[in-house]
Structures are given as C-alpha cells and as structure tokens.
Symmetry: C2
Subunit: 356 residues, 2 copies
C-alpha cells in the first residue's frame, strides 16, 4: 500500500537524500553524487549514496541498507526518495528501475530528470507501467545545485572550474615580508574541504617551482570517505624539464597522481581532454594570477572562491596582475562566510558558460 | 520608592538608552552621542538623547520628555538609565546631577564612566550624597562601542578616522571601461549613512579634480536628524589654485562647508587641528590610494570599511597602489554584511593607536 505523505514531509525526506548525496561529492566522478532514502510510512528503513563509478547506485545502496537493517520485508509498498531520476539502462550496473520494480517499491519521488536526452523521463514510463507512482521535480532546485558541476561537465564535455584565491583586503597574494600563507587555520581547512570535493587541482609551472606545493587534502582521507583518493594534480608548463624532480608534486607518495601537461595552446581543448581522459568533473584552480587570467578570459571559470584575510600589505603581487581583463567578469549569487579571522566570498561567474 | 528591576530588564533598558544615543550620532560633535530613558516601575515615562553641543544633555531631554508626556509626577522615585556618567560640572549647560537630584529620581544606572579624569566617578559621590542609588558599568561594552570615536578623539585630541574604499574583488577601484561608480544602490546608501555619521569627509586634490565629487549626504538631512548639517568637506592639496572654482566642492550650495588645506606636511598635526578647530570627532576618508597609504602608514586610520562589488576587472587603478606599506596593517573584529550584490567588510585597524 502506498503511504501518502504531506508536501513538507516529502521535501524533508528529499533533503535527507541530498545529505546522503553529499557524502559522495569528490569520489563519484565521472558519475554524479546521488543520494536516496527509503521510507515505509513514517519510518526510515534504508538510506544510501553512490560512492564510486562502477559501483552500486544510490537506490541500490538504499535497498541494500534496508535489508542489512532487517527492513527487507518493509520494502514492498515503501517510498523511495532519490535526488536524480533513476537510471533505466544497462551501464556498468543493471538499471535501477529494475530493482525498484522487483523489490515492490510503491512510490518514487525524484529531484532532477536525467540530463542525458536519451534517458530523460524514461524512468517515469517504465515505473508507471509497473504500477509505481512517480513524482519528479521534488526539491528540484536544491538537487540541481548539488548536481551543477556534473550537469555542466556532461553537457559541455569539460570540467566545472572553481578558482580559489587567497588574498589580503587590498588584493595582494603575498603579505609584507614575503609570507605567502595568507589565510588562517580555519580558512585553510575550508580549502582542504574544497580540494576534497574536487577531482583535480591545477597549477602552472611557476607556482609548482616557486611554492613547491603539495596540493593534497590534508584531512585524513578516510574521514572524507572510505574510497576517497587524493585529487589529481595537474601542472601546466612549457617544458617538463623546467620542473625539478625534487618537487613535492613529482616526488611525494602521490607522485603518480601528478599529471604534467606541456605547452598547452588551447585551454578549452585541454579541459575537454581532462574530462574525457580522467573523468574530471570538478577542477580546482590554485594557479597564479597570470594563468588565472587566461582561464578567466577564456570564459572557463565557473565559480570563484576568494579568501580575504584581514591585512593590508601593499606590494606588487596581485590577485590578477596587469591590465584590464579582455572582458570584465561579474559574479552572481555571492555569499560570504567567516572562517576564523578570514572572510570567504564565493559566487558563480556570470560570463562563464554556465549552462542552464 | 525605588523599584528594583532584575538584571535582564536593566540591560534591556540600557539598550533602549543606547538606541536613543544613536539618534545623535553625527550631530553631537565635539560632544559624545548619549541617550537616556526613565522608568517608573515597569513603565517607560520619558526618553531622550543629546542632539547638539550647547543644547540639553540626554538626561535633561528625558526629564523634559517625561513632563511633556504628563509623567512629571512620576519622576520622583523613578529610575534613570543613561549611556554615559552624568555630568557634574557647569559647562554650556548646568550639571545633570543637579537636575537628577532636584527631580527626585531614585536610582541611576549608567554605562561608561566619564573618560575625563577631572570628572570621572564624581557623579557617583554627588548622587549618593543626595540619597540616590547609583550603578555604573551597565552594558559597558555596548556603551563603549557607541562612544569609541568620541573617547578616542578626547584622549588623542584628533579625530577617529574611518577609511571607506569601494573596490572590485581583485582590488581595483575602477571597472573595466573606466566606470568609477563600482558599488550598487544599497551599498551607496550605506555610504551615505556613514557620511551622515561623520563630522567631515576628506579627499585629496587629485580626487577633487578628477572625480569632482559632492561628498554630501544624499539622504534628506531632516530624515537623519532635525539638526543634521552636511559634513565638512576637506580637501588636501598642494596649491589651492590647482582646484578649479567650478568644482562641486567649491561651487555648490554647501561650498561654505568646504575647507581647503594646503601643503600639509604632517598629517598628525593636521588631524589635531581638525579636532581643535572644528570639533571633528569622526573623519571619513574618501581619498585615493596614494593619500590613503600616507594615512595608513602614519597609523592614523582607525576603521576600515571596504565595499567589495562582485566584479573582476583588472587594470592599473588599485585600492593601494605601489609597493609594500611601511608596516603591514592588520584588521580585527572584521564583520561582513551584504548590501544588494555587494559585500561590505568593516573592521578596526589593529596597528592604529586604538586607545583602550
């Protein structure tokens, strides 16, 4: 029997599914982060999220979880809440619609339709044909925000690009006296979280040489996710030989996860290659101002995260050195949040090709 | 009979007195903004604030207000809440302690002691000798914040200096294409409020010539306060003759409130002169980066207000042009707030001579 829940309760449950989905951010690429919860009446009987490409989808994980909890007998007639339209075709795993039908789930609520035109809306028809009630578009906006980088990457065949900048209030990236570590502890933790959510981090050869960064997630990875790997580290340089072998990026224990790309002429093509070859959905830029300008001017930066530390330093190391940008960039939906003594501003770049 | 109120109620009433005091910000200099409320039992019987130097103090205004409301007979045995220790000496007006005694007020709560050592704590003794109970230090921190610019000015004999900067996220003060109006409507209203709270606004000759600003409060002044005047406008320039007579600052209806100061060699002395001669307690800087640097390097800037507009523009017009500051400036207590699409960061400059 199908249990009808009221509007507010349905939304609340979808938010639980979104919380599940978040657990997969940073490990699912090239797949999207998806979460699911299953209710029988007012009781949560199972929950799960997609963890890694090639492994079980969120719906299957939630069904498995219900069984593990001894709730298998409650699946028949239950309600499934999932952030993305269930898949209806064979990929690396069988279609979720099949499992939903065979478990006798009575009703399905989902957030966003499959952006792939070939599958879009197909689940509705398949499930309804099996007598299952289907409602799409539940908390659609919240689900879309969650899926934005992935939807963008699928559509454009290149990664969603997040630029991260740490600066003083007067737009310098070096403090008086030469100190390049500008941000405080709390803001640095925030950066590590951003890295953990990204599939790859990109710098230029100059940053690699001068700062010798590690670009790793310092939070213990198993605290992030049991399947979390360090992000790929990408270095754009004119000649590979210009990078000393002793650099952290080339010599540390994650050295096999560093990709050196020589002599890039077209950033757009390079980005497409990163998506195609490594399945990179979210790319984080931690490069210097000169390279950052090129990404901005190409319209490739989707999101801007600037950490302002409460200093005025002067000096000639700027966030964006030099002359006017080819085209002014405008941010929308800017949010500010305080981390320790620092203020983080984060927004979407309007002039970038934001998709829908 | 003295009505004893509980701790929370006492604090709440002092916050009401602070709200009153705020109404005087921008019109009381060289006097401080002070507010007062009078309660009899649980009833608010009068309230008032100091409006302008030479006129009645907050306590007297509150007593007058009680009488005007027909509450005069309730003054005997009432409780007075005032943000600053009542004055006890003859100035331009008779001492407030006298009025408090003659009206038979039963109890006095005040926030901050008179910072002038000659008067400090004298009210306590005078009032107690008249049988009035006195409690100082109520909501002292909140009262101090309110009085900070004035306390600083009294102590240092020079104004509290607030620097206002409007910039892009990359620290430019001009948008691509040359547009100097960077901030949006809401943030500009905030700037006008800041101006209304300031006694004077300072620019350099270059800004006066190139931008031809008005530096006036655009909010109708009678909405700010019935006695509000436009802030003084101060121009620092090498030669008065370098300023065309047609500039707004020299030709508009407020032209007699523009002060041109030539050839300043010592900013500290200039500031002392502004305090001594014009009673300027709060000075707002709206000057360009070169002059701003000098104020910063002299340690004269107390508060920093930066309006970040959500653009990245590039270009060579920086918030602070040129090289490293002589000494790095650190901000403390930074708060951020959103105004429309802009984010305002405001904090105190630690290295400035902040007083207590």
């Amino acid at each position: 029997m199908t249990q009808l829940s009221d509007e507010g309760e349905i939304r609340r449950r979808m938010m639980q599914a979104i919380e599940q989905a978040r657990l997969g951010i940073g490990t699912t690429s090239p797949n999207p982060p998806v979460g699911a919860v299953i209710y029988r009446g007012m009781k949560l009987i199972g929950e799960g999220y997609h963890e890694r490409a090639g492994e079980a989808h969120a719906e299957i994980r939630a069904i498995q979880d219900a069984k593990k909890r001894g709730n298998g007998h409650l699946l028949r007639g239950s309600e499934l809440y999932v952030t993305l339209e269930p898949c209806s075709s064979y990929g690396k795993t069988p279609p979720c619609t099949e499992a939903i039908i065979s478990e006798g789930i009575g009703r399905v609520y989902y957030g966003v339709k499959d952006p792939d035109g070939r599958h879009q809306g197909r689940a509705d028809a398949i499930l309804r044909a099996a007598g299952i009630e289907v409602t799409g578009g539940v908390e659609e906006e919240a689900c879309k925000i969650l899926l934005k980088p992935w939807m963008y990457a699928v559509e454009r065949k290149r990664p969603w690009v997040v630029a991260k900048i740490a600066s003083t209030l007067d737009g310098r990236i070096v403090r008086r006296g030469g100190e390049k570590k500008i941000s405080g502890e709390e803001a640095r933790r925030y950066v590590h979280q951003l890295r953990a959510e990204s599939d790859a981090i990109l710098v230029g050869g100059r940053t690699a040489r001068e700062d010798d960064p590690q670009l790793t997630v310092r939070t213990p990875l198993n605290e992030v996710s049991p399947v979390k790997k360090q992000p790929l580290r990408i270095v754009l340089t004119r000649h590979r030989d210009s990078l000393p072998k002793t650099l952290n990026l080339l010599s540390d224990r994650e050295a096999d996860r560093t990709v050196v790309i020589e002599n890039v002429e077209d950033l757009g093509e390079m980005l497409e290659e990163l998506y195609k070859r490594y399945g990179i959905v979210q790319l984080m830029l931690e490069c210097g101002g000169h390279l950052l300008r090129k990404f901005l001017e190409g319209g490739y930066v989707n999101e801007w995260v600037q950490i302002f530390s409460p200093f005025l330093s002067g000096g000639d190391e700027y966030v964006l050195p030099g002359n006017y940008l080819d085209s002014e960039q405008r941010l929308v939906g800017v949010e500010s949040e305080r981390y320790g003594n620092d203020i983080v501003l984060r927004g979407l770049i309007e002039s970038s090709d934001l998709g829908e």
